[in-house]
Amino acid sequence: MIVFDKPKALTDAPLHYCPGCTHGIIHRLVAEAIDELGIEGKTIGVAPVGCSVMAYDYFSCDMVEAAHGRAPAVATGIKRSDPSNIVFTYQGDGDLASIGTAETVHAATRNENITVIFVNNAIYGMTGGQMAPTSLPGQVTQTSPYGRDTKLCGFPVRVCEMLSELEGPEYLERVAVNNVKNIKKAKAAIKKAFENQINGKGFSLVEVVSTCPTNWGMTPKDALKWVDDNMIPYYPLGVYKDRSGKEEK
């Protein structure tokens, strides 16, 4: 009996991500959620600009490519034109937390009935490792070779905390994919975000703390440890808002 195989909602296209990049894990978790809820036929995904720009090749549901940062706005249009569609966006931190902050905040405050998967790896991966709004204080990147100076560049944006202050959003959770236990939790969160949309509850965002071994300059194994040691202390995991359940944190 097969107990683990590639989900049907992923195509057979080989992923172009660097070795050890956790984008592949997050793609799979989204695909598994789509499979388990049986919604592949009516799901429309919105791909971002960033490393996951070619996500439309990997998901076997319908996909749309949005301009940089505009995925929540495009998803709003798709969802409102036919609310029977299940619409999700898949965005990185340079896309969602930088150029697309306005779209994200306003989609959240309108409680748009969409699902947002936010991959936070604290760096601009595709463009070659520049400092992102989510880069940690002191983090060395291409554009902060002496470490992020918070006097010059300010502090990282904590998206879940920021959005949790709004009335609008239904569900905000931060998860990680650095070990098997966290991956199981991440899967439950992503599935819940899709279920919320099916039940018409509104804006659900799952922030996934991810890695970028190439641009962090680490082996994939060290990158997972760096998530534990540096990312999770700055970006604490947990549920930040759950209006239908009880609120935590």
Partner: protein, 68 residues
Amino acid sequence: MAKLTFKTDLCKGCGLCVDACPKNLLTIAKDKINQKGHSPVEITNQDECIGCAFCATMCPDCIITVER
């Protein structure tokens, strides 16, 4: 008995599965090179595999199929 099948040509040799295995059965085959030019993962002792699927859970490229 559990059985692992690898899509070896898609493996990027990142080694995340190697660290996830509770029985330490997986290894990166340094003497082999796949189509992509990476050294792929392989299992050292299939008989000891317990089929927990931790390796497949960690694999970013979905190359592992677990049967039990």
